[in-house]
Amino acid sequence: MEGGVVLLDFWASMFGMRVRIALAEKEIKYEYSEQDLRNKSDLLLQMNPVHKKIPVLIHNGKPICESLVQVQYIDEVWNDQAPLLPADPYKRATARFWADFVDKKMYDSGSRIWKTKGEEQEAAKKEFIENLKLLEGELGDNLYFGGEGFGYVDVALVPFYCWFYAYEQCGNFSIEAECPKLIAWAKRCMQKESVAKSLADPEKVYEFLLQLKKAYGIE
């Protein structure tokens, strides 16, 4: 493993996808290791003893955990091409703020869409759309977040796009109808090879979600 890059990951994880995109953007060769989350490997438990979660990036035998920490690490080590964070400190702070916003808000409100029903689900959908609209506002008329080309916030957010179909099916609503600019941005990102190769198939994600719901005992 010396000198090598290994990614412990799970195919449907939005957080794992962020790292896959960053590695692809930098054209880094790595070993992808699919993990069984119901039966966690010794390697995973050894490399992330604190959280026992994927993704785990292993570089030169040393683990790095937490997807946004991993993306920043990749950006700093392989700094010769495809910069993900801008150079200006204020723009960097802004990028970090919105990536942090995605972390704090998107996963939670998205999960509640498929985990709940009735009034609770309606509230989750409303919050989810409100959060997406804030992101749309931040995107503005730019092609990508930050206005400088594909970067950190795009990497943080675009993996959620492959989960939208599943959320829409569970919540019986259309995200594109509410946030057309954001969907246009997502489709633009999907034209990049690094993104298209890294995101999971939305149909497969939905099938997986149906299995998860069964496992959680949710109709």
């Binding site: 955990c65 920490v69 920043q72 690490y73 700093e76 200006d88 204020y90 916003f101």
Partner: protein, 237 residues
């Protein structure tokens, strides 16, 4: 690199550990700044609502016409703008990743578990909550060993990112120790952190912004009196 010109202000409260992070970072860089105190119990000021419309929380750093929110993001911004020594983030990418990892752990897991002690109902729940915090401190003791490599701080010879991220909670940790009668930092389980805590609180960049334990304890009692079930440490609302 961005200009370091422009007035610097921190919008916050004296009791918030998150606000303290911004002030410590500015002190480390010897940046003169104004501290604008929010009286959160009297409602949020127009300035706060305008400068952090997304989360409406403190701290907010105002630098010229820029506003920056989220304490750890503020600390990194300060490090990058006032880029002359001393550096706050470590210089090596792996050490930076390690520092960021533990800072995220503190915010996402450890500090909420400490707040959980105040919210626990019943002796069993309380003991379980204390146990969780103590387990976290053992992990942090180990992390201190790895990061400091025998030197006085997580950041090495001087206070760094992880020292700031963790040290800001020491006031509330001491209040919790007072209220539970349990010494969370102790010679047996966390001998190195115990010494580090004294060092951190005595540092020039910290000592004037770290609130006194007595004052914080009284403040905690007042909050708990006003809002039933609220936990100490909610400098953010």
């Amino acid at each position: 690199m961005a200009s370091s010109d422009g007035e610097v202000k921190v919008l916050g409260t004296w009791s918030s550990p998150f606000v303290m992070r911004a002030r410590i970072a500015l002190n480390l860089k010897s940046v003169h700044h104004e501290f604008l105190q929010e009286r959160l119990w009297e409602g949020k000021s127009q300035l706060l609502l305008q400068s952090n419309p997304v989360h409406k929380k403190v701290p907010v750093l105002i630098h010229g016409h820029h506003t920056i929110s989220e304490s750890l993001i503020i600390v990194q911004y300060i490090d990058e703008v006032w880029s002359s020594a001393p550096s706050i983030l470590p210089s090596q990418p792996l050490e930076r990743a390690t520092a960021r990892f533990w800072a995220a752990y503190l915010d996402d897991k450890w500090f909420p578990s400490m707040r959980g002690i105040g919210m626990a109902e019943g002796e069993d729940a309380r003991r379980a909550a204390i146990g969780q915090v103590e387990e976290g401190l053992v992990l942090l003791e180990e992390a201190f060993g790895e990061c400091s490599k025998g030197r006085p701080f997580f950041g090495g010879d001087r206070i760094g990112y992880l020292d700031i991220a963790f040290g800001c909670f020491l006031g509330w940790l001491r209040v919790t120790e007072k209220m539970t009668g349990v010494m969370l930092l102790n010679e047996t389980n966390t001998p190195r952190l115990l010494k580090w805590a004294h060092r951190f609180c005595s540092d020039d960049a910290v000592k004037d912004v770290m609130p006194e334990t007595e004052k914080l304890a009284e403040f905690a009692k007042m909050i708990m009196g006003r809002v039933k079930g609220a936990a100490p440490g909610t400098g953010k609302s």
